[in-house]
Symmetry: C2
Subunit: 198 residues, 2 copies
């Protein structure tokens, strides 16, 4: 065998990561072989550290390092507004917009009868407990705009509205900067339906 065993082992480990094929893995491994000791050590330590320190926030199920996550502990956030998302990564996307200053609740997925995922497999019970005990006035249902996400949003809206809490959904429409010509018909239909008066 031409390849050192530890190089092959590292190649295998990188190839298991999402979006990394054999060529990318090889490029990274050769980069690491040429990198200084400290640089490689930093990557290895960061991986270990993330697994040691990151857990789920017991309140909103976002990733957290302290007892609660950075958003739950931030008192400047609007405590009356709650956004429900499927995964912690959706929070990152929303935070990037700087358009939302409320709190979050991560479901940990979406209702999908085909995959055998029902409301009991998601953090729905915990959501209802939060709504019963807090000053939340509006819940934005920000699950994905696909079948599972829509089903989940509809299901949750039916539970939330009887509590006297407003339930809303992110708008669907044409992507900003997009081209009308290339929009799919469902998105375009939704954009017409939800047109704004000027």
């Amino acid at each position: 065998m031409a390849q050192a065993i530890s190089i092959q082992k590292l190649l295998d480990e990188f190839e298991r990561l999402p979006g990394i094929g054999p060529k990318s893995a090889q490029r990274i491994v050769y980069w690491l072989l040429n990198a200084n000791e400290e640089s490689a050590q930093r990557l290895a330590s960061a991986i270990v550290e993330v697994k040691e320190t990151v857990h789920f926030c017991p309140r909103c199920f976002n990733y957290a390092e302290g007892e609660f996550c950075a958003i739950c502990t931030d008192e400047r956030r609007d405590q009356s507004l709650l956004m429900v998302v499927s995964e912690p990564r959706d929070i990152t996307a929303i935070e990037r917009t700087h358009e939302f200053s409320g709190l979050y609740h991560v479901l940990g997925g979406a209702i999908s009868p085909i995959d055998g995922i029902g409301p009991d497999d998601l953090h729905v019970k915990e959501l209802l407990e939060r709504l019963a005990n807090t000053e939340i006035q509006e819940v934005i249902l920000a699950t994905n705009p696909n079948v599972e996400g829509e089903t989940t949003a509809t299901y949750l809206a039916r539970l939330i509205k009887p509590l006297g809490i407003k339930a809303s959904r992110l708008a669907s429409g044409l992507p900003v900067g997009g081209d009308l010509e290339f929009a799919d018909e469902v998105t375009l239909g939704r954009a017409i339906e939800s047109r704004r008066e000027l």
Copy 2:
């Protein structure tokens, strides 16, 4: 800040790797967060291990784990044939072809006056020492088919031939399975020039 500090740190570390942009880094980090402890630990350990165990073979400058590299220690390899390459990664590419069973010599680059890289910055002295002391009958100069690679090959051939050792170069021509129509003119010109009689 919405992101846990250790997550941001790991994102930064992955983004420093070649070919990994912010989106890929995020995908990998979320994958690791969902992966089991052992799986993440394996990746971290493989990185540390590669830096601890891999060094350069003192004979051919390939990556090695033992005293010498796996190819230098393999007695079944043809000791009369030596292939000169720029980087250890070139050995991986050649080995994949299963067409070469000789030994290698890694230069650690190619002659490039623009980048200030001359013969003294490469393992040329060590190559000449090997050629003086061993039974090598032919040296295949497998540096890249670009300006630096050609310059290096020409330079080395001038040193090797006076020793009574054959110097050869990998053939240039059309890639197998390629399309004549899409070949660049230099490659196509080279293919005409080096045409084989049938």
